[in-house]
Symmetry: C2
Subunit: 348 residues, 2 copies
């Protein structure tokens, strides 16, 4: 019993260290029509011509998008679904409809995760423990969201054409998937994006009840996780080339900057938000920016991973942020609980 | 890099071995009024006098039940929430409403899981990898369901009083929580329930579209995971004192027995189902038995764990089974995908 060395893997209550440095060997990203007209268009593998993606329902389109992102990621690593040990993924739909049906089609052992828009980092975090802990040799970490499935589930039927307040964010139609593998140093032939550390989030609730103020609702969780990550790893903002939150949007991004400053950290030189990066703010009429599980998933799997492989970024923290409310909790007078999980990566 | 020994942790694509033998140090179980009149009544820690549990909504009652089960489990291990490194849990509600709000109240780092009624084993499985892999010292693995929250979300408003067909199962009002800890052999003072191995499930779909035939829908997944567990671990049914499925119910249990026989395994001497054990079939009018995340969670945390600690059972496989459909997938003509995760435990 206990005949193994695991003393190096725990940097604090919430923070894991991965001494084996699991590698993200490839990623896949699929985005909708609107996202394909945004500033990151050139970074995505596939841009849909129309958001139904040839399916009869939006939900089936989202599932197909997720599956395509996974198959793209797998193909780039020379893998078929049967070569992958485990699929970890999350989406926003009730009962994880997109992930569940994708898992049925691909027949990869499946661990379904729900963390709202924090799904991409929750899946990367658990994938890293499974790979680094020696439980799996390869994992798929993924997440998806679709504007039309999210709007009708969480807000109003699209046909209403109801107005959105300025603080509202636009649920991104996108999916991102990453293949995480055991680091076989001997096979290394070029730069590798390695996962070094991860911090699990606690649920923080600022008492906000307005579901059009997601950035404000999630900011305390983002700040809590990021400060914990810095403290547990003994690092500071300028140790990183980029720190990215999932989908704080324009308003939430500013709140995160302000709250981090109060905690003694100036993150402005390296900080940005995937929901801010996704769209042209004025031209695309997205108010406070993008949101949704697919936001940080596709921005990471599309842009950030490429920037790391191309030498533009070396050390990066990706921190997906989730708002854990339901329509029913809001109807029952509850405020919006937020969560954020952080993963730090390094080109090695 | 790779300066650790992990070669012993992988018994196959789907099956993990836990050489450090993480220990379930305590459990907590809370059940509703009806469950408290069933054959297992004496095994539960707390039986509600009424299923609203003093709250204003069923959803809040479910959340409170889950929290109570967790606090009971923690207390028996001499722990406060702040002593626990991570909380892994799942429920049936949209966006994991019960778990999310419990995680907010307890302030334990939270990884939300969705696997429908397979939640208890999904959480025990991931908890075991985190403990055995050295990422956490203590974890809470838990799941809950509530008849009234599930009925109104998945089926009909209770006020309809609509009839249930004979194959229908009764969603259990219950929560179960287990504390999983690192095995500190030197501190051992008596029998310990250790987690030895676990098998992740694949999604299997038998093409069943009738949501009142959950047992039939989940049986192929249960059989797939159980056969894989036997093959990967080199064990057979009579190596165990008990094999328990989550919530196949009376009909599903018989299908599992038949399908396992076709695969060459006679499991009848040791096999039972938590949904079958929970109620008096005729007297309590539950048709095909119990279901819901809370079913295997409370039966394990209530009865099975006690039977193991009391020397009645030594080697046990718990396999929670989940049906991954949504109301929307059913409306869109999809069949019901099933999944099952298995955890094998041993008194050491």
């Amino acid at each position: 019993m206990n005949n193994y060395n695991n003393t190096m893997r725990r940097l604090g209550r919430q923070t894991f260290d991965f001494p084996g440095c699991p590698v993200i060997t490839s990623t896949g990203s699929v985005v909708g029509e609107k996202e394909g007209k945004g500033p990151l268009a050139n970074y995505f593998d596939l841009i849909l011509e129309e958001d139904m993606f040839g399916e009869k329902t939006w939900e089936k389109a989202e599932s197909k998008m997720l599956k395509e992102a996974m198959l793209l990621a797998a193909k780039k690593s020379g893998k078929k679904p049967e070569d992958i040990d485990v699929m970890l993924c999350g989406d926003l739909l009730n009962q994880l409809m997109s992930c569940s049906f994708t898992a049925r089609d691909l027949q990869i052992p499946f661990l379904g995760l729900y963390g709202a828009c924090s799904a991409m980092c929750e899946s990367l975090l658990i994938a890293s423990t499974l790979i680094d802990g020696g439980y799996a040799n390869s994992a798929l970490a993924a997440a998806s969201s679709h504007y039309c499935t999210a709007e009708r589930q969480f807000r109003m039927p699209l046909e209403h054409g109801n107005q959105r307040p300025p603080a509202a964010q636009w649920t991104v139609t996108a999916a991102g998937a990453a293949i995480v593998q055991k680091n076989e140093a001997k096979e290394k032939t070029g730069p590798q994006v390695c996962i070094r550390r991860a911090t699990m989030g606690r649920v923080m609730d600022a008492g906000i009840t307005d579901t059009h103020q997601m950035g404000a609702a999630m900011a305390p969780a983002a700040v809590d996780t990021l400060c914990t990550h810095f403290q547990d790893t003994g690092t500071k903002p300028d140790d990183y080339d980029a720190i990215l939150t999932g989908d704080m949007g324009f308003i939430g991004k500013q709140i995160v900057i302000d709250l981090m400053r109060k905690k003694g950290y100036d993150i402005t030189p390296v900080y940005d938000d995937c929901g801010v990066l996704m769209y042209f703010k004025e031209k695309q009429d997205v108010h406070s920016g993008g949101s949704g599980c697919g936001c940080s998933a596709s921005v990471f799997c599309g842009k950030i991973f490429r920037d790391m492989m191309n030498g533009k970024l070396k050390k990066v923290i990706l921190m997906s942020t989730g708002a854990l409310m339901t329509t029913q909790s809001s109807q029952q007078g509850e405020s919006i609980p937020g969560i954020a999980h952080a993963v730090s990566m390094e080109v090695m």
